[in-house]
């Protein structure tokens, strides 16, 4: 899961052209809530399942983990290291893959994309690193007898997918309303274990990650110029015609 700057707040870049994650209000990426929800449902349907929530992020990412623990996850792992500052998606996927191998898993459940980077590729990257099947962008998912099945509503077609565990799965916002943490859940979360790991704990060298280790570089960032205010008219019986006239003037007709 990912701790991201709140989209309703002021998202911006730091001097080194990384996303400023320090000085902003952050929260668990909304799309990851669906992943937690589906993990909880899968665990509830299974006999002996345990949910570990995992994140790579700065100290405040702890808040994202707490949210997931209050929803019902059993324990959390936080990979945190100053050398991770400025890590790109490929670097992050490497760290997560190593952490996952260490923690051990039958199923990895992810959100479909983060709400800040919006790349949507991390689950595929994890599957590639871990050498397990990817069953991604599911609007429905279930697990039984060591097999995960789900429905992927792609651009061109809807597909029913199936893979043997272990596997990496991602779920969309269509997979089901994420539950609100109950008061009991919030209290219980405080006692659940949160393990902190640094880079050497997961067997990654600093040069493989961070701003210097990234395989992409941001050359420049420009704030989009504010849109010049347009005309706003109140419909007094001609609104539709005025609208059509505007479109004609802009050569859309």
């Amino acid at each position: 899961m990912k701790y991201v700057p709140d989209a309703t707040g002021d998202r911006h870049f730091a001097q080194d052209l990384t996303v400023d994650r320090g000085d902003v209000d952050g929260l668990l990426s909304e799309l990851d809530e669906y992943a937690v929800e589906q993990a909880l449902q899968i665990a509830e349907a299974a006999d002996d399942a345990e949910i570990t929530v995992l994140t790579v992020g700065p100290a405040d990412a702890r808040d994202a983990l707490r949210k997931a623990l209050s929803m019902g996850a059993d324990q959390a792992v936080h990979v945190e290291d100053d050398a991770l500052h400025g890590t790109d998606a490929l670097g992050t996927s490497l760290v997560l893959a190593k952490a996952l191998e260490q923690v051990g898993f039958d199923l990895v459940v992810c959100g479909m994309a983060s709400t800040d980077g919006t790349m949507g590729v991390l689950p595929a990257l994890l599957a590639e690193h871990l050498g397990v099947p990817q069953v991604t962008l599911l609007s429905e998912v279930s697990v039984a007898d060591g097999v995960v099945t789900g429905r992927r509503d792609g651009d061109a077609a809807t597909e029913q997918l199936q893979a043997q565990l272990p596997a990496v799965v991602s779920v969309t916002d269509q997979s089901g309303e994420a539950r609100y943490p109950s008061f009991k859940g919030i209290m219980a979360a405080k006692k659940k274990p949160v393990t902190s790991l640094n880079l050497s704990d997961v067997g990654i060298a600093a040069h493989q990650v961070g701003l210097a280790g990234a395989w992409t570089t941001v050359e420049s960032v420009a704030e989009r110029p504010a849109r010049t205010a347009g005309t706003i008219v109140t419909d007094e019986g001609e609104g539709g015609r005025q609208l059509a006239a505007f479109l004609a003037g802009q050569k859309f007709l």
């Binding site: 790349m119 990257l125 960032v221 539709g240 015609r241 479109l247």
Partner: protein
């Protein structure tokens, strides 16, 4: 001569518009070599040639349809090994991004997704991206390996540029490990006859103000009068009035058409994230305080059930 691999997004050989945009962009940095996976290469090749492809590498294997994504990565990797390109360009569809990402890991290269523009640079192609709900534009470059870049629809006007487009077979071995996710069944999406939302030049979208499934007919009528695609806000989709496939916003699709016309949409940040980069924005809403009006080039405060029918009539009259 520097060659650039371009992954072809097609339906049975009918090449989708974003691929043609990719060929145009590829020409800025080298000679495009198209990679066509699946059936229909004979149909696609002339179209690809018309738009700049010097070669079309084609492979068709049952595995492409039978297993999710990984076999296509095997094939694209085979093309990469055969061509040694200066860059690999892939359309930014959901599938395209996953294929590009996995390829990047395998070939040890950096990855840039959702580029809205591409230009040559002294140290490699420079990709422009629109980030944080279009609040910022970034220019980025891959610094390690062969740049793998996914490009959004509407990134460049399609330019015809006739080239040889010689069709050549691509030899591919599909790894056992690529057959992990079986496709049990596939139901193709029904064509609406309207342009596809992320590719369209014009979009008409309806929101909570539309008030019901049956009223979306009005949105569709305006879209048809303009030759536009239809979009819907999250509120409308959650209420069941329109399919999720048409949802615009943070949890749906991001679009950047020439015209985005929002009717009955308040313009919450999650929605704006999906359309803020549109060139011209028009809104119709009963509420003068609706945040969407902060974005518009033209706004109408009024009842969309009055405004839209009148607009449709006027559009039809003007079109003659």
């Amino acid at each position: 001569m520097t060659e650039v691999l371009v992954y072809v997004d097609h339906a049975g050989g009918a090449v989708r518009k974003p691929t043609l945009e990719l060929l145009t962009l590829a020409r800025r940095i080298g000679e495009p070599v198209a990679v066509h996976l699946g059936p229909g290469a004979e149909t696609a090749a002339p179209v690809l040639a018309e738009h700049g492809a010097v070669k079309v590498l084609a492979a068709d294997a049952g595995e492409f349809a039978d297993y999710l994504i990984a076999p296509k990565v095997d094939a694209l990797q085979a093309a990469y090994v055969a061509v040694s390109p200066a860059a690999v360009l892939v359309p930014s569809s959901a599938e395209g991004k996953e294929i590009a990402a996995r390829l990047a890991v395998r070939i040890g290269s950096g990855l840039i997704t959702d580029a809205v523009d591409l230009e040559p640079g002294a140290e490699g192609p420079i990709a422009t991206q629109s980030v944080f709900a279009a609040a910022f534009t970034t220019r980025s470059r891959v610094t390690h390996g062969t740049p793998v870049i996914t490009v959004k629809p509407n990134a460049a006007p399609v330019e015809p540029a006739p080239a040889a487009g010689t069709l050549e077979p691509l030899a591919v071995t599909i790894a056992e490990a690529s057959k992990g996710t079986k496709v049990l069944s596939r139901t193709p999406r029904e064509s609406t006859g309207r342009p596809e939302l992320t590719e369209a030049a014009l979009v008409v979208a309806g929101g909570r103000g539309v008030g019901g499934t049956e009223h979306f007919g009005l949105i569709e009528a305006l879209a048809d009068a303009l030759g536009a695609a239809v979009g819907a806000s999250r509120a409308a989709v959650d209420a069941g009035w329109y399919p999720h496939f048409h949802q615009v916003g943070q949890a749906g699709k991001t679009v950047s058409p020439q015209l985005y016309l929002a009717a009955g949409i308040s313009g919450a940040i999650q929605h704006r994230a999906g359309m803020q980069a549109s060139k011209t924005i028009v809104a119709v809403n009963k509420d003068p305080e609706a945040p969407i009006f902060e974005l518009v080039d033209h706004g109408v405060v009024g009842d969309l059930f009055q405004v839209l029918p009148q607009a449709i009539e006027e559009i039809k009259a003007r079109r003659g």
